[in-house]
C-alpha cells in the first residue's frame, strides 16, 4: 500500500471531507496561502478558495466561537489553533459554549465541529509552544478528545471527527507529522472511542498516548531482545475511552505502565490508572500500576533539558524492566 506522512494523512482527510460535503470548511490563523504553521493545509486555499479556507486574524477565542456558531447553524467547520498552548485563549468558547450547548438546550441544538491543534515538545520551542494540555478537555463533558499516532489513524479518525455531531478536539503530535505509514487512498473512517492494540504481548501492558506510543513501540522492540514481551495499547480517543480493550489487556498481562508526555500531576495517566484499579482487572494485577509522564515543570528550551523533561525510549525501557522484574 501507498505510504504517506501523518501530516499528509491529516490533509487528505480534510480534502476528502471537503470534497464530499460542502458544509465542511476550515478556519484558523495562517492556514491559507501560508499553509498553516506546520504546512498541514498547504495547497488547500487553491483547491477550495477563500470562502472555505478562511484565514483569520490572531483571535483564537473567536476561531473557537466561529466553529461553534457555524456548527449551530448546520455547518461542519474545522478550526485550527496553531499551537495547543494557545488553546488557553480559546477555552471559554470551547468549554462554556461548544461543549455545553447540546445539553444546556435540552438536546435541541448540536455543535458538530472539530478543533485541530498540534501539541507536544521536542522542537526547541520552549515553555509556551510545547505543552500537552489534553486532560483539561478530557475533564469537560460534551467534548470528545482524539489523539491519533499513525498516519492511518490520523486520516480515519479525522474523518470520523468531522462527521461526529459533537465538538471534537483533534490533537496532532508535532513530532509525528513527518512519520510515514500505509494509508489507503480512498476515504475511510475509524470509530471514535475504539482503542488500538499497536503491539501484542503477554508480559506487560503499556498504555501510551500521542508521541509516547511511538516511543513505547521502540522500547518494546528493545525489551523483546531481552525476552520481555510488551503489549502496547493506544487509546486513540482519550474521550470517550475504550476501557474494555485496556482492561482485557491488563487481565492478560497483570502489569501496567502508563506513558504520556503531559505533566504527571492531574494528567491523563491518573484517569487510566483509576479506570484499571477500579475494574475487574484489579484482581489480576501483580505489580503496582506505574505512570511515566512529563515532569511537573514547564518545558525548557535547552535540547538536553527538554529531552529529559518527558519520557524517552530509554526511560520506558527502564521502567518496563523494573515492573517486569518486580523492582517496584
Amino acid at each position: 500500500m501507498r505510504e504517506i506522512t501523518y501530516l499528509e494523512a491529516v490533509r487528505e482527510a480534510l480534502r476528502q471531507e471537503m470534497q464530499r460535503d460542502e458544509k465542511v470548511f476550515l478556519i484558523g490563523e495562517d492556514i491559507g496561502v501560508y499553509g498553516g504553521a506546520f504546512g498541514v493545509t498547504l495547497g488547500m486555499l487553491d483547491e477550495f478558495g477563500p470562502q472555505r479556507v478562511i484565514d483569520t486574524p490572531i483571535s483564537e477565542l473567536t476561531i473557537a466561537g466561529a466553529i461553534t456558531g457555524a456548527a449551530l447553524v448546520g455547518m461542519r467547520p474545522v478550526g485550527e489553533i496553531m499551537f495547543m498552548d494557545f488553546i488557553t485563549l480559546a477555552s471559554e468558547q470551547l468549554v462554556n459554549q461548544a461543549a455545553k450547548i447540546h445539553f444546556m438546550f435540552g438536546g435541541k441544538a448540536s455543535v458538530p465541529c472539530v478543533m485541530r491543534t498540534p501539541m507536544g515538545s521536542g522542537t526547541g520551542a520552549a515553555a509556551q509552544h510545547s505543552q500537552s494540555l489534553e486532560n483539561w478537555f478530557v475533564h469537560i463533558p460534551g467534548i470528545k478528545v482524539v489523539a491519533p499516532t499513525t498516519p492511518y489513524d490520523a486520516k480515519g479518525l479525522l474523518i470520523s471527527s468531522i462527521r461526529d455531531n459533537n465538538p471534537v478536539l483533534f490533537l496532532e503530535s508535532k513530532l509525528l507529522y513527518k512519520t510515514k505509514g500505509e494509508v489507503p487512498e480512498e476515504s475511510y473512517s475509524i470509530p471514535l472511542g475504539k482503542a488500538d492494540v499497536k503491539r501484542k504481548g503477554k508480559d506487560l501492558t503499556i498504555i501510551a498516548t500521542a508521541i509516547e506510543v511511538k516511543r513505547s513501540l521502540e522500547a518494546a522492540e528493545k525489551l523483546a531482545a531481552e525476552g520481555i514481551d510488551v503489549e502496547v495499547i493506544d487509546p486513540r480517543t482519550l474521550k470517550p475511552l475504550d476501557e474494555k480493550t485496556i482492561i482485557e489487556s491488563v487481565i492478560k498481562t497483570g502489569k501496567v505502565l502508563i506513558v504520556h508526555e503531559a505533566c504527571k500531576t492531574g494528567g491523563y495517566g491518573g484517569e487510566l490508572a483509576a479506570v484499571i484499579a477500579s475494574s475487574e482487572a484489579f484482581d489480576y494485577l501483580d505489580a503496582p500500576i506505574m505512570r511515566l509522564a512529563g515532569r511537573d515543570m514547564p518545558i525548557p528550551y535547552n535540547r538536553t533539558l527538554e529531552m529529559h523533561t518527558v519520557p524517552q525510549v530509554e526511560d520506558i525501557v527502564e521502567a518496563a524492566r523494573k515492573l517486569v522484574h518486580r523492582k517496584v
Binding site: Q97, F105, K108
Partner: protein, 328 residues
C-alpha cells in the same frame, strides 16, 4: 457616526399593536417570574429586563421569521419578542421537562432553536464570538438570512467583543450587534468602566457603522436596527447599534442596589418604554385607552395561563439525568 435621529418609522397599526403586546408580555413574564420566585417555586436565579422592553422588541421586530438571534443572560425579552411559546418558556424557567430546554437550561439558557433563538448565554460576551460563526454559516448558506447578536454594556470590555467585531467586519458578515447599554455591568457603572461616552464610537475602530439610540423608544430602536438589518442582508456587513436603556431591577436576585440611588431608578421609571409607546399610540389616535388596556390584559392573561401550564408540567425524571451530554 454617533447619536442620530433615525428616519421616520412607518409601521402599520397591527404591527404597532403587536409590539405593544409583546412589550407587555415581557413585563408580565418577568413580574410573574418575580412572583414565582418569591413564592419559592423557582430553584435558580434570573436576570430581569424590566424597563428594557423596547430594546428587545424594537430590535427583533426588524427580523423576518427565519432570521436568528443570539441572546444574553438577560434574555427573556429577546425570546418573547422572537415569538416564543410562553408556556414552554415558563416551563423552562420552572425547570420542567416540557420546557424549551427540558429544564436543563433555566432562565439563563433559554433557547428556542426552531423559532430562531439560538439561546441565552450565561457568560458575558460569550455569544459574540459565536455570532461570527453563525454569520459565517448564514453567509455560506446564501439564503439571505441575517441575525442579531445581543449583549450588554459589560460585554464591551471583554476581549471577545474586540476579536469578534473585528472578525465580523473583515468578513462582511450578516450580523447586527445590538448593545443594550443599561448603565451597569452588575454594579460597575459604564461611566466608570470606559472613558468614552458612546460605546458605539468603538465601531469606527472596526470599520463598521455605529449608532447610539434612545433604547426606551421602541420606534427609534426599530429604525436604527432595521437600517442595520438592511445593510447586513444586502451584504454590506455588520453594524453596532447601541440602545441606551436602564434596568429597573437589580442585576439578579442577590442585588441590594448599593451602587445606585433610588432617585436614579425613579427617574428612569418615568421613562417607561411601554407607557411611552402606549401614550404615543393614544395621542396619535391609533388606539383608545381602552384598547391599550385590552392589549395589556391579553398579555397578562397569556402569562398567567403559561404559568398554570408550566406548573402542571412534569419534573424531569431522574432516569434521564445524563441524557443529552453528547449528541447521537
Amino acid at each position: 457616526m454617533g447619536t442620530k435621529v433615525p428616519k421616520e418609522v412607518k409601521l402599520d397599526l397591527a404591527t404597532l399593536t403587536l409590539m405593544l403586546e409583546k412589550m407587555y408580555m415581557i413585563r408580565a413574564f418577568e413580574e410573574k417570574a418575580e412572583e414565582l420566585y418569591t413564592m419559592g417555586k423557582i430553584h435558580g436565579t434570573m436576570h430581569l429586563s424590566i424597563g428594557m422592553e423596547a430594546s428587545a422588541v424594537g430590535s427583533v421586530f426588524t427580523l423576518k421569521p427565519d432570521d436568528l438571534i443570539l441572546s444574553t443572560h438577560r434574555g427573556h425579552g429577546h425570546c418573547i419578542a422572537k415569538n416564543a411559546d410562553m408556556r414552554l418558556m415558563m416551563a423552562e424557567f420552572m425547570g420542567k421537562e416540557c420546557g424549551y430546554c427540558r429544564g436543563r437550561g433555566g432562565s439563563m439558557h433559554i433557547a428556542d432553536v426552531d423559532g430562531g433563538n439560538l439561546g441565552a448565554n450565561g457568560v458575558v460576551a460569550g455569544g459574540i464570538p459565536v455570532a461570527v460563526g453563525v454569520g459565517l454559516g448564514l453567509q455560506m448558506e446564501k439564503k439571505n438570512r441575517v441575525h442579531i447578536c445581543f449583549f450588554g454594556d459589560g460585554a464591551t470590555n471583554e476581549g471577545a467583543f474586540h476579536e469578534a467585531l473585528n472578525m465580523a467586519a473583515i468578513y462582511n458578515l450578516p450580523v447586527v450587534f445590538v448593545l443594550e447599554n443599561n448603565g451597569y455591568g452588575m454594579s460597575m457603572s459604564i461611566k466608570k468602566a470606559t472613558k468614552i461616552s458612546k460605546i458605539s464610537d468603538r465601531a469606527a475602530g472596526y470599520g463598521m457603522p455605529g449608532v447610539t439610540v434612545d433604547g426606551n423608544d421602541v420606534l427609534a430602536v426599530y429604525g436604527a436596527v432595521s437600517e442595520a438589518v438592511d445593510r447586513a442582508r444586502s451584504g454590506q456587513g455588520p453594524t453596532l447599534v447601541e440602545n441606551v436603556t436602564y434596568r429597573w431591577r437589580g442585576h439578579s436576585k442577590s442585588d441590594a442596589n448599593r451602587y445606585r440611588t433610588k432617585d436614579e431608578i425613579d427617574e428612569w421609571k418615568k421613562k417607561d418604554p411601554i407607557a411611552r409607546l402606549a401614550n404615543k399610540l393614544v395621542a396619535d389616535g391609533l388606539l383608545t385607552a381602552v384598547q391599550v388596556d385590552d392589549v395589556k390584559k391579553k398579555a397578562y392573561e397569556a402569562i398567567n395561563e403559561a404559568a398554570l401550564y408550566a406548573d402542571g408540567c412534569a419534573e424531569p425524571s431522574l432516569e434521564s439525568i445524563e441524557e443529552g451530554v453528547y449528541a447521537e
